[in-house]
């Protein structure tokens, strides 16, 4: 059946309208929780708890919830703690993963495939299975209730993930390149420093970003190992100190959650292409 020209144009137009409607739905569905947090974080107590007040709009914006966070809670301290733990664990786990993946995928060490498989299995072990015995371990090492407990344990989920990603990337480095360097008498450490690291900087940045986000978002380990309010991290601090029993400090809680998400969004926007291409190539998580 042949459509008339006007019918075809109408169809095309209708399809576009449907497409934009779907895009709108997806955008609202995805962003609404964050928007909702934003609205709550900028409302004063009276407006927040007024059942008639429009929950989608702010009548009298206020920064009082943010001020409360920084003056009445240890929020700043949690922010600093999360940063310390995030930066140090990213460095530790990236270096360890880089060396491991280099040996397996570039030097093609014997037994490398088995090790790759092992890394993948470790990646699948959830925190749920590990937090009880890790708590005993952390206690016997004498580092419970300190940031060291987190710095010690976060690489358990960062290393398998990073190593897996790096192995996938390193497989694609041309063998000839490495062989040529070897023939020229380069040592393995020179090959790593002069060849592998420079050509791997995009994937290294991706790996570091992901590791940082994993560390930033951890809830369970920090909840289990840390008991002092001043040593808590952002996730556990907001969830346990701004929700106490049945009382929710909604304004500060939403402000805290929102502020905690901001560094991740900033990093994300800088490295958007890396993220999207990393994931769409099918190699991530």
């Amino acid at each position: 059946m042949v459509l008339h020209k006007t019918d075809r144009i109408n169809n095309l137009y209708r399809n576009k309208v449907i497409q934009y409607a779907l895009v709108m739905i997806v955008v609202i569905w995805t962003l609404y929780p964050f928007y909702s947090m934003f609205v709550a974080s900028m409302k004063n107590v009276g407006e927040l708890y007024n059942l008639e007040a429009n929950p989608f709009w702010i009548n009298k914006p206020t920064l009082s919830n943010f001020i409360y966070l920084f003056t009445q809670t240890n929020y700043l301290k949690w922010y600093i703690n999360s940063s310390i733990v995030g930066i140090s664990t990213v460095l530790i786990s990236t270096i360890i993963s880089l060396l491991f993946a280099y040996s397996v995928a570039v030097l093609r060490t014997k037994g490398g495939l088995a090790l790759g498989v092992m890394i993948f299995m470790v990646y699948l072990i959830p925190q749920t299975l590990l937090f009880l015995p890790l708590n005993s371990l952390v206690n016997s090492l004498g580092i419970s209730d300190s940031l060291w407990s987190l710095i010690f344990t976060y690489p358990t989920f960062q290393i398998p993930f990073s190593t897996w990603l790096l192995i996938g990337y390193f497989q694609n480095i041309p063998k000839e390149m490495i062989e040529a360097a070897r023939v020229d008498g380069a040592s393995t450490i020179q090959i790593l420093r002069k060849i592998v690291i420079p050509i791997s900087s995009p994937i290294l940045i991706t790996v570091m970003l992901f590791s940082f986000v994993l560390s930033w978002g951890d809830l369970i380990y920090a909840l289990v190992f840390i008991s002092s309010s001043t040593r808590e991290t952002l996730g556990v601090g907001t969830v346990t100190q701004l929700i106490r029993g049945d009382s929710f400090f909604w304004g500060p809680l939403m402000a805290g959650g929102l502020l905690a998400a901001i560094p991740v969004v900033i990093l994300f926007s800088f490295f958007l292409d890396q993220y999207v291409s990393g994931i769409t190539s099918g190699s991530v998580k």
Binding site: M37, L129, L132, T188, V239, F248, V264, V276, I279, G282
Partner: protein, 299 residues
């Protein structure tokens, strides 16, 4: 001597140095993952408690006892229910959004769709906690002002379970959508062109080309998601803390409640170990599809 130079890898000194790079990783993983895993298995066979020095070996007591415990059975039921329903929803909606992203080639939309996955879920779930609040939440505000009734989202078992599934789905969709999008982009365009010439419409093309070729990606992403969802802690912990009256407990939250708050480490370890058989089966299936030597690592 000549042969030796030709095969520098067989030189034992170089060979040894290849292994040195593995040591930090291996040593760390043995201490911080291998040992705790063995410890968890050991603890599950004991009556270990926080504060008590010497745990007693009790054999399978913890496991048998758990199978008679209604709270545990609820947690097992919930873990499976939440996982099956939300992974199914993520898959269906994920394919829909992936198709939309495929046709609507705007980078900003991809970025937005990814956000719930990029932003640590703890913070996004807090937003949902607020939306779903029975008294002040915007969802009930909307229901009351448009339809005249409200729903006890987190306060009644059925609705609390629904909420957990809803939030789990919201959180997991980006991973599915972007993963599927990657799979769709990898399908060569000529196949579609050829089908079009043969008179195939877009629904046909989707059903007979896209879906079959996407199957491996769908499988692997779903398996990953099952592992992540069945062991998840944060959604239930933040939304309901397992309540009301344990009706939304899952393996992870019950492990936390029994093993830490309740100080019964042995019993807690036994609860968490119920995930292990599931993980092993899924890992074996995945290993047949996931091969790090292939390009991209995950195909």
């Amino acid at each position: 001597m000549h042969k030796f130079n030709e095969f520098p890898r067989s030189c034992s000194k170089k060979h040894l140095s290849n292994y040195i790079y593995l040591i930090p990783g291996l040593a760390y993983l043995i201490v911080a993952v291998g040992w705790p895993l063995i410890d968890a298995i050991y603890l599950s066979f004991t009556n270990a408690q926080i504060g008590e020095k010497v745990p007693k070996f009790v054999g399978l007591y913890n496991f048998i006892n758990l199978l008679k415990d209604s709270t545990f059975l609820t947690a097992a039921y919930n873990s499976i229910l939440f996982t099956v329903v939300s992974v199914f929803l993520k898959m269906i909606i994920g394919i829909g959004i992936a198709l939309l992203l495929y046709n609507f080639k705007q980078k900003w939309l991809r970025a937005i769709v990814l956000l719930p996955w990029v932003i640590p879920s703890t913070f996004g779930i807090l937003g949902w906690l607020w939306i779903l609040d029975p008294l002040y939440g915007s969802l009930n505000w909307l229901l009351i002002h448009s339809l005249g009734f409200s729903i006890p989202w987190l306060a009644e078992p059925f609705w609390a379970r629904t909420s957990v599934i809803l939030v789990n789905t919201w959180r997991g969709i980006p991973f599915f959508a972007i993963g599927f999008l990657g799979g769709m982009i990898a399908i060569p365009r000529d196949i579609y062109e050829a089908a079009k010439i043969d008179g195939s419409n877009s629904i046909h093309s989707f059903w007979y080309i896209t879906l079959p070729l996407l199957m491996p990606v769908i499988l692997i992403i779903s398996l990953f998601s099952i592992v992540m969802t069945i062991s998840d802690f944060s959604v239930v912990y933040i939304l309901t803390r397992g309540g009301p009256i344990n009706s939304t407990q899952v393996f992870a939250t019950l492990t936390y409640q029994v093993g830490l708050s309740g100080a019964q480490i042995g019993r807690g370890a036994a609860i968490s170990l119920f995930i292990l058989p599931v993980l092993i089966v899924l890992a074996i299936i995945m290993l047949r599809y996931v091969n790090p030597s292939k390009k991209g690592g995950l195909e």
